[in-house]
């Protein structure tokens, strides 16, 4: 179990809902991954009966999961705050995945706008999941303004590059042993998820790696196994790498032939 803002969830696999070949495949992938939290967004609705939002919302509700609305696409604290308020009104949850993009090419979060938005939203009763870079000082500021979960990227969104800076991720883990840490964005393969879970991260959030896989349902299952393997490995206590060999077979009792 992992706890986010006093809410316990069984799964350490948070999944995005965009880019799937069909709603049915999204639904099957969420089930195959045994996901408890799905991220959703808010977009302009189309007038006149072609209301895509309705069907999508029904599908999410039928899955019986926790909904984590996001502020994707916002480039300022002001826009992100308004989007968060609209999401709370619609989804009836204080949870918000706070995204404030600072660079359009890398989709790197804007740390300054992020802290500003997080401070106002936390003061307004939101439970903020900030999508952030892996910067230690930024993490400290976000905790100071009231965030109780941190979600550092490990590589740019949708890049599938996997963890680019393990040292920074390790630093965050060691500085904040009691804060739920979720790697959000940049994971491409199940082994990437295993790697960050082996560092002691509490969960991962991903979307593209599953949605754009050849078989999204099988990939969701693979990520589930990867996440569980990494978590169990972390808890089991792993060996640190050594520079020289250490024989695994006992030397005592070895025959001497010459």
């Amino acid at each position: 179990m992992v706890t986010f803002y006093d809410k316990e969830v069984a799964s350490r696999f948070l999944l995005g809902t965009a880019q799937y070949p069909s709603p049915q495949i999204l639904s099957e992938a969420a089930k195959a991954g045994e996901v408890d939290i799905l991220t959703v967004s808010l977009r302009r609705e189309t007038a006149g009966g072609q209301q895509a939002g309705q069907k999508f919302w029904e599908l999410i509700q039928n899955l019986g999961v926790h909904v984590l609305p996001n502020t994707a696409g916002c480039h300022s604290a002001r826009d992100a705050i308004l989007t968060a308020k609209m999401a709370r009104d619609l989804f009836k949850t204080n949870w918000i995945k706070l995204e404030v993009i600072g660079n359009s090419d890398t989709l790197q979060p804007d740390p300054f706008q992020l802290v500003e938005a997080a401070e106002e939203l936390c003061a307004d009763g939101f439970e903020v999941f900030p999508y952030m870079t892996d910067d230690l000082v930024l993490a400290e500021r976000l905790l100071e303004v009231g965030c109780k979960v941190l979600m550092p990227w490990c590589a740019p969104i949708g890049s599938a590059a996997g963890p680019l800076n393990l040292t920074a991720l390790r630093t965050l883990r060691s500085y904040f042993p009691d804060t739920p840490l979720v790697v959000d964005a940049g994971l491409g393969r199940p082994s990437h998820a295993t790697t960050v879970m082996e560092l002691g991260y509490d969960a991962v959030l991903l979307n593209t790696a599953v949605a754009k896989a050849g078989d999204p349902v099988a990939m969701a299952r693979a990520f589930k196994h990867g996440i569980e393997a990494g978590r169990e490995g972390y808890l089991a206590g792993m060996l640190e790498p050594r520079d020289f060999a250490t024989p695994s077979t006992p030397l005592i009792g070895q025959a001497v032939f010459s």
Binding site: T17, A18, L42, A47, Q51, A52, G53, I157, N207
Partner: protein, 65 residues
């Protein structure tokens, strides 16, 4: 009255935000609304009087990562 709804110019007869939604064929309880960059919660739409030139945003759940 002329409004901007989701970025498009609209001439409408509705006086309140609650009346605007059905007039423009937005239906259901899965909508979120803002006017002039301020949230208008679902339970405030009935009382919210629209004004000439208001910028209305009507959002719905959508796929996101």
């Amino acid at each position: 009255m002329n409004l901007t709804v989701n970025g498009e110019e609209k001439a409408v007869s509705a006086a309140t935000l609650a009346d605007l939604l059905p007039e423009l064929e937005f239906e259901g309880d899965w909508l979120a609304t803002a006017v002039n960059s301020e949230l208008i919660a679902a339970d405030e739409r009935e009382a919210f009087q629209l004004s000439e030139g208001d910028k209305v945003e009507i959002l719905a759940p959508m796929q996101g990562g």
